[in-house]
Amino acid sequence: MQMAHPGLPEFDYIRPGTLMEASRFLADHPDEARIFLGGTDMFVRMRDGAWTAKYLVDVKGLHGTNELHYSSAHGLVVGAAVNMNRLISSPDVQNYYQLLVEAAHSVASYQLRTRATIIGNICNASPAGDTTGACIVLGGILKVHGLNGYREESLSTFFKGAGKTILKPGDVVTSIHFPVPQEGAAGKYLKLGRNAIGDLSIVGVTVFGYRDNNTVSGYRFKIALASVAPIPFVPVQAEAVLAEKPISKETVDEAAQFAMDACTPIDDIRGGAKYRKQMVRNLTRNGLHEVISRLGLKI
Protein backbone atom coordinates (compact mmCIF):
# COMPACT_ATOMS: atom_id res chain seq x y z
CA MET A 1 0.00 0.00 0.00
CA GLN A 2 1.21 3.49 -0.78
CA MET A 3 1.79 5.54 2.34
CA ALA A 4 -0.16 8.75 2.50
CA HIS A 5 3.01 10.62 3.39
CA PRO A 6 3.31 13.11 5.01
CA GLY A 7 1.63 11.53 7.85
CA LEU A 8 -2.09 12.03 8.12
CA PRO A 9 -3.41 8.99 9.97
CA GLU A 10 -5.95 6.79 8.25
CA PHE A 11 -9.60 7.88 8.15
CA ASP A 12 -12.53 7.73 5.80
CA TYR A 13 -13.65 10.91 4.07
CA ILE A 14 -17.43 11.32 4.19
CA ARG A 15 -19.39 13.87 2.20
CA PRO A 16 -23.05 13.80 3.27
CA GLY A 17 -25.71 14.90 0.79
CA THR A 18 -27.85 16.83 3.27
CA LEU A 19 -27.54 18.49 6.66
CA MET A 20 -29.82 15.87 8.23
CA GLU A 21 -27.64 13.12 6.80
CA ALA A 22 -24.60 14.86 8.32
CA SER A 23 -26.28 15.30 11.71
CA ARG A 24 -27.39 11.66 11.80
CA PHE A 25 -23.96 10.35 10.82
CA LEU A 26 -22.24 12.53 13.42
CA ALA A 27 -24.74 11.50 16.11
CA ASP A 28 -24.33 7.82 15.20
CA HIS A 29 -20.51 8.05 15.48
CA PRO A 30 -19.96 10.44 18.41
CA ASP A 31 -16.45 9.28 19.25
CA GLU A 32 -15.33 8.45 15.72
CA ALA A 33 -16.47 11.29 13.46
CA ARG A 34 -15.26 14.88 13.26
CA ILE A 35 -16.67 17.75 11.24
CA PHE A 36 -14.25 18.91 8.56
CA LEU A 37 -14.16 22.50 7.32
CA GLY A 38 -10.74 23.97 6.47
CA GLY A 39 -8.72 21.50 8.52
CA THR A 40 -6.07 24.08 9.39
CA ASP A 41 -6.01 23.12 13.05
CA MET A 42 -7.32 19.59 12.68
CA PHE A 43 -4.63 18.34 10.30
CA VAL A 44 -1.88 19.62 12.59
CA ARG A 45 -3.41 17.90 15.60
CA MET A 46 -4.02 14.68 13.68
CA ARG A 47 -0.44 14.64 12.41
CA ASP A 48 0.79 15.23 15.95
CA GLY A 49 -1.36 12.34 17.17
CA ALA A 50 -3.35 14.61 19.49
CA TRP A 51 -6.58 13.99 17.59
CA THR A 52 -7.83 10.83 15.98
CA ALA A 53 -10.88 10.29 13.82
CA LYS A 54 -12.28 7.31 11.96
CA TYR A 55 -14.36 9.61 9.79
CA LEU A 56 -13.92 13.19 8.61
CA VAL A 57 -17.32 14.55 7.68
CA ASP A 58 -16.96 17.33 5.11
CA VAL A 59 -19.88 19.73 5.54
CA LYS A 60 -18.63 22.30 3.03
CA GLY A 61 -21.24 22.54 0.29
CA LEU A 62 -24.21 21.64 2.51
CA HIS A 63 -27.18 24.00 2.60
CA GLY A 64 -26.25 27.50 3.77
CA THR A 65 -22.58 26.81 4.36
CA ASN A 66 -21.40 28.80 1.33
CA GLU A 67 -23.64 31.78 1.98
CA LEU A 68 -22.05 35.22 2.32
CA HIS A 69 -24.79 37.78 2.25
CA TYR A 70 -25.44 41.26 3.66
CA SER A 71 -28.64 43.25 3.75
CA SER A 72 -29.29 46.59 5.45
CA ALA A 73 -32.39 45.05 7.03
CA HIS A 74 -30.98 41.80 8.40
CA GLY A 75 -27.22 42.22 8.62
CA LEU A 76 -24.55 39.76 7.60
CA VAL A 77 -24.66 35.99 7.21
CA VAL A 78 -21.37 34.11 6.89
CA GLY A 79 -21.62 30.43 6.02
CA ALA A 80 -19.43 27.84 7.69
CA ALA A 81 -17.53 27.09 4.47
CA VAL A 82 -16.77 30.72 3.61
CA ASN A 83 -13.02 31.06 3.81
CA MET A 84 -11.37 34.07 5.38
CA ASN A 85 -10.02 35.49 2.13
CA ARG A 86 -13.52 35.50 0.66
CA LEU A 87 -14.79 37.22 3.80
CA ILE A 88 -11.99 39.81 3.77
CA SER A 89 -12.48 40.66 0.09
CA SER A 90 -16.25 41.12 0.36
CA PRO A 91 -17.11 44.82 -0.21
CA ASP A 92 -20.07 44.57 2.19
CA VAL A 93 -17.92 43.12 4.95
CA GLN A 94 -15.29 45.81 4.30
CA ASN A 95 -17.92 48.55 4.44
CA TYR A 96 -19.93 47.45 7.47
CA TYR A 97 -17.81 44.98 9.46
CA GLN A 98 -14.27 46.34 9.23
CA LEU A 99 -13.45 44.79 12.61
CA LEU A 100 -14.16 41.34 11.18
CA VAL A 101 -11.86 42.08 8.23
CA GLU A 102 -9.12 43.26 10.59
CA ALA A 103 -9.42 40.16 12.80
CA ALA A 104 -9.52 37.69 9.90
CA HIS A 105 -6.57 39.40 8.23
CA SER A 106 -4.49 38.79 11.35
CA VAL A 107 -4.85 35.02 10.97
CA ALA A 108 -1.72 33.22 9.74
CA SER A 109 -1.00 33.77 6.03
CA TYR A 110 -2.92 34.42 2.81
CA GLN A 111 -2.59 30.81 1.64
CA LEU A 112 -3.79 29.44 4.97
CA ARG A 113 -6.73 31.84 4.92
CA THR A 114 -7.76 30.17 1.67
CA ARG A 115 -8.67 27.26 3.95
CA ALA A 116 -9.42 28.89 7.30
CA THR A 117 -13.00 29.79 8.24
CA ILE A 118 -14.41 31.85 11.09
CA ILE A 119 -16.86 29.09 12.00
CA GLY A 120 -13.91 26.71 12.24
CA ASN A 121 -12.08 29.27 14.36
CA ILE A 122 -15.09 29.47 16.70
CA CYS A 123 -15.90 25.74 16.87
CA ASN A 124 -12.27 24.89 17.51
CA ALA A 125 -12.78 26.88 20.72
CA SER A 126 -9.13 27.83 20.96
CA PRO A 127 -8.63 30.55 23.58
CA ALA A 128 -6.33 32.19 21.01
CA GLY A 129 -8.82 32.35 18.14
CA ASP A 130 -8.24 35.65 16.37
CA THR A 131 -11.72 36.13 14.93
CA THR A 132 -13.67 34.96 17.97
CA GLY A 133 -13.41 38.28 19.82
CA ALA A 134 -14.78 40.22 16.83
CA CYS A 135 -17.63 37.72 16.54
CA ILE A 136 -18.45 38.18 20.25
CA VAL A 137 -18.40 41.99 20.32
CA LEU A 138 -20.34 42.23 17.04
CA GLY A 139 -23.11 40.13 18.58
CA GLY A 140 -22.69 37.07 16.36
CA ILE A 141 -25.36 34.37 16.62
CA LEU A 142 -24.60 30.84 15.44
CA LYS A 143 -27.08 28.86 13.37
CA VAL A 144 -26.78 25.21 14.34
CA HIS A 145 -28.32 22.19 12.62
CA GLY A 146 -28.87 19.22 14.93
CA LEU A 147 -30.99 16.09 15.02
CA ASN A 148 -34.05 18.21 15.83
CA GLY A 149 -33.45 20.72 13.04
CA TYR A 150 -32.14 24.28 13.31
CA ARG A 151 -31.56 26.35 16.43
CA GLU A 152 -29.61 29.46 17.34
CA GLU A 153 -26.79 29.74 19.86
CA SER A 154 -25.27 32.85 21.39
CA LEU A 155 -21.52 33.09 21.60
CA SER A 156 -21.84 34.32 25.19
CA THR A 157 -22.69 30.78 26.32
CA PHE A 158 -20.99 28.78 23.56
CA PHE A 159 -17.53 28.14 25.02
CA LYS A 160 -17.11 25.65 27.86
CA GLY A 161 -13.33 25.33 28.05
CA ALA A 162 -10.24 25.12 25.88
CA GLY A 163 -11.43 23.15 22.84
CA LYS A 164 -14.84 22.59 24.41
CA THR A 165 -18.20 23.99 23.34
CA ILE A 166 -21.87 23.33 24.02
CA LEU A 167 -22.19 21.48 20.69
CA LYS A 168 -23.54 17.94 20.95
CA PRO A 169 -22.93 14.99 18.61
CA GLY A 170 -24.95 15.65 15.48
CA ASP A 171 -24.67 19.43 15.71
CA VAL A 172 -23.35 21.25 12.63
CA VAL A 173 -22.84 25.02 12.78
CA THR A 174 -23.98 26.14 9.33
CA SER A 175 -23.50 29.92 9.60
CA ILE A 176 -23.05 32.93 11.83
CA HIS A 177 -25.33 35.96 11.72
CA PHE A 178 -24.30 39.48 12.64
CA PRO A 179 -26.82 42.28 13.24
CA VAL A 180 -26.46 45.52 11.30
CA PRO A 181 -23.87 47.61 13.15
CA GLN A 182 -24.85 51.13 14.21
CA GLU A 183 -23.70 53.87 11.92
CA GLY A 184 -20.42 55.31 13.13
CA ALA A 185 -19.54 52.27 15.25
CA ALA A 186 -15.80 51.67 15.57
CA GLY A 187 -13.74 48.62 16.45
CA LYS A 188 -10.14 47.56 16.89
CA TYR A 189 -8.37 44.22 17.22
CA LEU A 190 -4.98 44.46 18.90
CA LYS A 191 -2.94 41.29 18.59
CA LEU A 192 0.34 40.77 20.35
CA GLY A 193 2.37 38.09 18.57
CA ARG A 194 6.01 37.13 18.45
CA ASN A 195 6.08 38.58 14.91
CA ALA A 196 4.38 41.68 13.60
CA ILE A 197 2.17 39.59 11.31
CA GLY A 198 1.19 35.99 10.93
CA ASP A 199 1.83 34.53 14.38
CA LEU A 200 -0.52 33.10 16.98
CA SER A 201 -1.57 35.65 19.56
CA ILE A 202 0.15 35.96 22.92
CA VAL A 203 -2.66 38.31 23.82
CA GLY A 204 -5.61 39.41 21.70
CA VAL A 205 -7.82 42.34 22.65
CA THR A 206 -10.93 43.29 20.70
CA VAL A 207 -12.69 46.60 21.42
CA PHE A 208 -15.90 47.83 19.83
CA GLY A 209 -17.82 51.04 20.55
CA TYR A 210 -21.13 52.48 19.40
CA ARG A 211 -23.83 54.98 20.40
CA ASP A 212 -26.15 53.86 23.19
CA ASN A 213 -28.39 56.25 25.13
CA ASN A 214 -28.65 53.81 28.02
CA THR A 215 -25.13 54.60 29.21
CA VAL A 216 -23.80 57.65 31.06
CA SER A 217 -21.56 58.71 28.18
CA GLY A 218 -24.04 57.90 25.41
CA TYR A 219 -21.66 55.24 24.10
CA ARG A 220 -21.28 51.56 24.89
CA PHE A 221 -18.01 49.68 24.69
CA LYS A 222 -17.67 45.93 24.17
CA ILE A 223 -14.42 44.12 24.93
CA ALA A 224 -13.31 40.52 24.29
CA LEU A 225 -10.01 38.98 25.34
CA ALA A 226 -8.11 36.09 23.76
CA SER A 227 -5.20 33.88 24.89
CA VAL A 228 -5.52 34.91 28.54
CA ALA A 229 -8.05 32.37 29.90
CA PRO A 230 -9.27 28.87 28.96
CA ILE A 231 -11.92 30.47 26.73
CA PRO A 232 -12.25 33.73 24.82
CA PHE A 233 -14.22 35.94 27.19
CA VAL A 234 -15.73 39.31 27.99
CA PRO A 235 -14.33 41.28 30.98
CA VAL A 236 -17.74 42.22 32.34
CA GLN A 237 -16.58 44.71 34.99
CA ALA A 238 -14.48 46.57 32.43
CA GLU A 239 -17.52 46.97 30.17
CA ALA A 240 -19.67 47.99 33.15
CA VAL A 241 -17.39 50.79 34.30
CA LEU A 242 -17.31 52.19 30.76
CA ALA A 243 -21.11 52.22 30.73
CA GLU A 244 -21.56 53.66 34.21
CA LYS A 245 -19.05 56.50 34.22
CA PRO A 246 -18.29 59.43 31.93
CA ILE A 247 -15.56 58.48 29.46
CA SER A 248 -12.25 59.91 30.63
CA LYS A 249 -8.64 58.82 30.77
CA GLU A 250 -9.26 57.66 34.35
CA THR A 251 -12.27 55.58 33.31
CA VAL A 252 -10.26 53.99 30.52
CA ASP A 253 -7.44 53.19 32.96
CA GLU A 254 -9.94 51.70 35.39
CA ALA A 255 -11.54 49.55 32.67
CA ALA A 256 -8.11 48.38 31.49
CA GLN A 257 -7.25 47.39 35.06
CA PHE A 258 -10.53 45.45 35.37
CA ALA A 259 -9.70 43.66 32.11
CA MET A 260 -6.28 42.74 33.47
CA ASP A 261 -7.75 41.51 36.75
CA ALA A 262 -10.29 39.34 34.94
CA CYS A 263 -7.60 37.34 33.11
CA THR A 264 -6.29 33.95 34.17
CA PRO A 265 -3.49 33.34 31.67
CA ILE A 266 -0.92 30.57 31.74
CA ASP A 267 2.82 30.56 31.14
CA ASP A 268 3.62 28.95 27.82
CA ILE A 269 6.13 29.06 25.01
CA ARG A 270 4.63 32.28 23.62
CA GLY A 271 4.63 34.30 26.81
CA GLY A 272 4.49 34.35 30.61
CA ALA A 273 1.26 34.81 32.59
CA LYS A 274 2.46 38.02 34.28
CA TYR A 275 3.51 39.53 30.97
CA ARG A 276 0.19 38.56 29.40
CA LYS A 277 -1.81 40.20 32.19
CA GLN A 278 0.13 43.44 31.90
CA MET A 279 -0.24 43.42 28.14
CA VAL A 280 -4.00 42.95 28.48
CA ARG A 281 -4.12 46.14 30.52
CA ASN A 282 -1.95 48.04 28.04
CA LEU A 283 -3.67 46.78 24.91
CA THR A 284 -7.15 47.31 26.37
CA ARG A 285 -6.19 50.89 27.19
CA ASN A 286 -4.70 51.42 23.72
CA GLY A 287 -7.69 49.81 22.01
CA LEU A 288 -10.16 51.90 23.97
CA HIS A 289 -8.28 55.11 23.21
CA GLU A 290 -8.25 54.29 19.51
CA VAL A 291 -11.94 53.42 19.40
CA ILE A 292 -12.84 56.49 21.46
CA SER A 293 -10.88 58.65 19.06
CA ARG A 294 -12.55 57.08 16.03
CA LEU A 295 -15.97 57.63 17.61
CA GLY A 296 -15.10 61.35 17.71
CA LEU A 297 -15.07 61.58 21.51
CA LYS A 298 -12.66 64.01 23.16
CA ILE A 299 -11.21 62.93 26.51
Partner: protein, 166 residues
Protein backbone atom coordinates in the same frame (compact mmCIF):
# COMPACT_ATOMS: atom_id res chain seq x y z
CA UNK B 1 -9.90 3.14 4.37
CA UNK B 2 -11.83 4.42 1.38
CA UNK B 3 -10.35 5.31 -2.01
CA UNK B 4 -11.79 7.93 -4.31
CA UNK B 5 -11.44 8.36 -8.06
CA UNK B 6 -11.07 12.04 -8.84
CA UNK B 7 -10.65 14.04 -12.03
CA UNK B 8 -8.95 17.40 -12.04
CA UNK B 9 -6.90 19.75 -14.19
CA UNK B 10 -3.25 20.21 -13.28
CA UNK B 11 -1.21 22.79 -15.18
CA UNK B 12 -3.78 22.67 -17.97
CA UNK B 13 -3.77 18.88 -18.30
CA UNK B 14 -6.78 16.74 -17.38
CA UNK B 15 -5.85 14.03 -14.87
CA UNK B 16 -7.68 11.13 -13.27
CA UNK B 17 -6.25 9.60 -10.09
CA UNK B 18 -7.30 7.20 -7.34
CA UNK B 19 -6.55 8.64 -3.92
CA UNK B 20 -7.03 7.36 -0.37
CA UNK B 21 -9.11 9.48 1.98
CA UNK B 22 -6.13 10.67 3.98
CA UNK B 23 -3.90 11.67 1.05
CA UNK B 24 -3.17 15.38 0.81
CA UNK B 25 -3.07 17.43 -2.36
CA UNK B 26 0.68 17.79 -1.76
CA UNK B 27 1.26 14.04 -1.69
CA UNK B 28 -0.94 13.52 -4.73
CA UNK B 29 1.01 16.11 -6.72
CA UNK B 30 4.40 14.71 -5.76
CA UNK B 31 3.76 10.98 -5.62
CA UNK B 32 0.81 10.34 -7.93
CA UNK B 33 1.53 12.95 -10.60
CA UNK B 34 5.31 13.25 -10.25
CA UNK B 35 5.21 17.02 -9.83
CA UNK B 36 8.02 17.28 -7.30
CA UNK B 37 8.54 21.01 -7.76
CA UNK B 38 6.04 21.52 -4.95
CA UNK B 39 7.97 20.94 -1.73
CA UNK B 40 7.05 19.32 1.55
CA UNK B 41 8.39 21.53 4.33
CA UNK B 42 6.50 21.67 7.62
CA UNK B 43 3.22 19.82 6.87
CA UNK B 44 1.58 22.31 9.22
CA UNK B 45 0.53 25.14 6.92
CA UNK B 46 3.28 27.42 8.14
CA UNK B 47 6.30 27.34 5.80
CA UNK B 48 4.53 27.78 2.46
CA UNK B 49 6.93 25.55 0.49
CA UNK B 50 3.94 23.51 -0.72
CA UNK B 51 1.93 26.51 -1.96
CA UNK B 52 0.06 25.98 -5.24
CA UNK B 53 -2.77 27.79 -6.99
CA UNK B 54 -6.09 26.03 -6.42
CA UNK B 55 -8.82 27.37 -8.65
CA UNK B 56 -6.61 30.45 -8.96
CA UNK B 57 -6.08 31.01 -5.22
CA UNK B 58 -2.86 30.19 -3.37
CA UNK B 59 -3.21 27.45 -0.79
CA UNK B 60 -0.97 25.27 1.36
CA UNK B 61 -1.33 21.95 -0.47
CA UNK B 62 -0.47 20.08 2.75
CA UNK B 63 -3.71 21.47 4.16
CA UNK B 64 -6.02 20.15 1.43
CA UNK B 65 -7.17 16.57 0.97
CA UNK B 66 -6.62 15.14 -2.50
CA UNK B 67 -10.25 14.02 -2.59
CA UNK B 68 -11.30 17.67 -2.25
CA UNK B 69 -9.54 18.40 -5.55
CA UNK B 70 -12.14 16.54 -7.58
CA UNK B 71 -13.34 18.81 -10.37
CA UNK B 72 -10.88 21.57 -9.53
CA UNK B 73 -7.91 23.26 -11.21
CA UNK B 74 -4.37 23.33 -9.84
CA UNK B 75 -1.31 25.25 -11.00
CA UNK B 76 2.05 24.19 -9.61
CA UNK B 77 5.48 25.74 -10.17
CA UNK B 78 5.86 23.44 -13.19
CA UNK B 79 2.92 25.28 -14.77
CA UNK B 80 4.43 28.76 -14.53
CA UNK B 81 6.79 28.59 -17.47
CA UNK B 82 5.66 27.84 -21.00
CA UNK B 83 7.93 26.00 -23.49
CA UNK B 84 11.36 27.59 -23.03
CA UNK B 85 10.03 30.85 -21.65
CA UNK B 86 10.23 31.54 -17.96
CA UNK B 87 7.50 33.51 -16.25
CA UNK B 88 8.61 37.13 -15.61
CA UNK B 89 8.49 36.33 -11.89
CA UNK B 90 10.99 33.51 -12.38
CA UNK B 91 13.23 35.79 -14.44
CA UNK B 92 13.09 38.49 -11.77
CA UNK B 93 13.91 36.04 -8.99
CA UNK B 94 17.02 34.89 -10.86
CA UNK B 95 18.11 38.42 -11.75
CA UNK B 96 17.66 39.75 -8.19
CA UNK B 97 19.29 36.77 -6.45
CA UNK B 98 16.02 35.74 -4.84
CA UNK B 99 17.03 32.07 -5.01
CA UNK B 100 19.71 30.46 -2.87
CA UNK B 101 19.04 26.88 -1.74
CA UNK B 102 15.81 27.00 -3.71
CA UNK B 103 13.62 24.96 -1.39
CA UNK B 104 11.19 27.80 -0.69
CA UNK B 105 11.28 29.07 -4.27
CA UNK B 106 8.39 27.08 -5.82
CA UNK B 107 5.97 28.16 -3.09
CA UNK B 108 7.38 31.67 -3.14
CA UNK B 109 6.87 31.95 -6.91
CA UNK B 110 3.26 30.80 -6.60
CA UNK B 111 2.50 33.28 -3.81
CA UNK B 112 4.08 36.09 -5.84
CA UNK B 113 2.08 35.06 -8.91
CA UNK B 114 -1.14 35.22 -6.89
CA UNK B 115 -0.17 38.56 -5.33
CA UNK B 116 0.58 40.24 -8.66
CA UNK B 117 -2.64 38.94 -10.17
CA UNK B 118 -4.74 40.52 -7.42
CA UNK B 119 -2.51 43.56 -6.97
CA UNK B 120 -0.28 44.51 -9.95
CA UNK B 121 1.54 47.28 -8.02
CA UNK B 122 2.01 46.13 -4.43
CA UNK B 123 3.71 48.31 -1.83
CA UNK B 124 6.56 46.99 0.31
CA UNK B 125 4.10 46.28 3.13
CA UNK B 126 1.70 44.51 0.79
CA UNK B 127 4.54 42.32 -0.52
CA UNK B 128 5.67 41.40 2.99
CA UNK B 129 2.08 40.76 4.05
CA UNK B 130 1.42 38.52 1.04
CA UNK B 131 4.61 36.51 1.62
CA UNK B 132 4.26 36.10 5.40
CA UNK B 133 3.35 32.46 4.83
CA UNK B 134 6.47 31.68 2.76
CA UNK B 135 9.52 31.15 4.93
CA UNK B 136 13.02 31.53 3.47
CA UNK B 137 16.05 30.72 5.63
CA UNK B 138 18.67 31.80 3.07
CA UNK B 139 18.02 35.13 1.42
CA UNK B 140 16.88 37.36 4.25
CA UNK B 141 13.90 38.23 2.03
CA UNK B 142 15.21 41.57 0.71
CA UNK B 143 16.24 40.13 -2.66
CA UNK B 144 12.85 38.42 -2.93
CA UNK B 145 11.06 41.70 -2.26
CA UNK B 146 13.22 43.34 -4.95
CA UNK B 147 12.30 40.50 -7.30
CA UNK B 148 8.60 41.05 -6.71
CA UNK B 149 8.96 44.72 -7.61
CA UNK B 150 10.98 43.86 -10.69
CA UNK B 151 8.48 41.20 -11.74
CA UNK B 152 5.64 43.67 -11.32
CA UNK B 153 7.51 46.13 -13.54
CA UNK B 154 8.15 43.46 -16.17
CA UNK B 155 4.54 42.30 -16.21
CA UNK B 156 3.12 45.82 -16.27
CA UNK B 157 5.54 46.81 -19.05
CA UNK B 158 4.39 43.84 -21.11
CA UNK B 159 0.76 44.72 -20.51
CA UNK B 160 1.09 48.38 -21.47
CA UNK B 161 1.63 48.03 -25.25
CA UNK B 162 -1.36 45.72 -25.50
CA UNK B 163 -3.49 48.12 -23.51
CA UNK B 164 -2.41 51.01 -25.76
CA UNK B 165 -3.23 48.95 -28.85
CA UNK B 166 -6.76 48.47 -27.55
Amino acid sequence: MGYHRITLTVNGTAEQVDVPSNMTMLTMLREKLGLTGTKNGCTAGECGACTVLWNGEPVNSCMVLAVECDGTRITTVEGLSSADLLDPIQEAMIEEGGVQCGFCTPGMLISIKALLERNPNPSDYEIRDALVGNLCRCTGYLSIISAVKKAAYKINSQAEPAALAN
